[in-house]
Symmetry: C2
Subunit: 114 residues, 2 copies
């Protein structure tokens, strides 16, 4: 069994509040939501973070952001607005070493973004 929590969730081996999934991506609610809508979009394949993406992953990344659009629409925040955030390494507070895009909405978001 993988030691990566997002790999385990993608494999159905760990519980999560999954709101969307397909052959390449899974979207789940963040366990510590910081906005009325706070969903994570992850690739099924283990990729440590943005820096670990290969040239051939370009379409996968585009797909993940398409899924971000989709879950924002499904959650009813596409028109009102949402923020998509990816954290890389320590200064950004990356907490799980498996690429994930945060999708936050349902309230006005402040600036700067952290």
């Amino acid at each position: 069994m993988s030691s990566c929590i997002f790999c385990r969730i993608a494999a159905g081996e760990a519980p999560a509040d999954v709101v969307y999934q397909d052959d390449r991506a899974v979207a789940l609610r963040d366990r510590h939501p910081r906005a009325p809508v706070h969903i994570l979009v992850i690739p099924r394949r283990h990729i440590a973070n943005l820096l670990a993406l290969l040239d051939e992953d370009e379409a996968l990344v585009g797909h993940l952001l398409g899924v971000a659009n989709r879950v924002a629409r499904d959650a009813g925040v596409a028109e009102s607005g949402f923020r998509v955030v990816a954290n890389v390494n320590r200064d950004a507070g990356q907490s799980v070493d498996h690429l994930h895009f945060h999708v936050l909405g349902g309230r006005p978001m402040g600036w700067p973004p952290g």
Copy 2:
């Protein structure tokens, strides 16, 4: 002349502190930086925001995030960490209606991201 400031910058018709460009993307320093490194990555083509992406744009989006990696490396913040942010519509504070990814680094970023 386009009324979109990012289209004008991409066309070389408006001044900007451009740090990288290629046939599909331009990266420029934010005029109101909120971190020691604060760079915007935009597509040359006018796309209003993430929601306006078409299925055939998947590779373009992946390329834009590859450029985010590149400018983070060039700015010396890849290892220390950086945050990538895209704002969509009012609640997120989207200020220019041309897709742009903020790349912020050079300091610890707080949570939540705004």
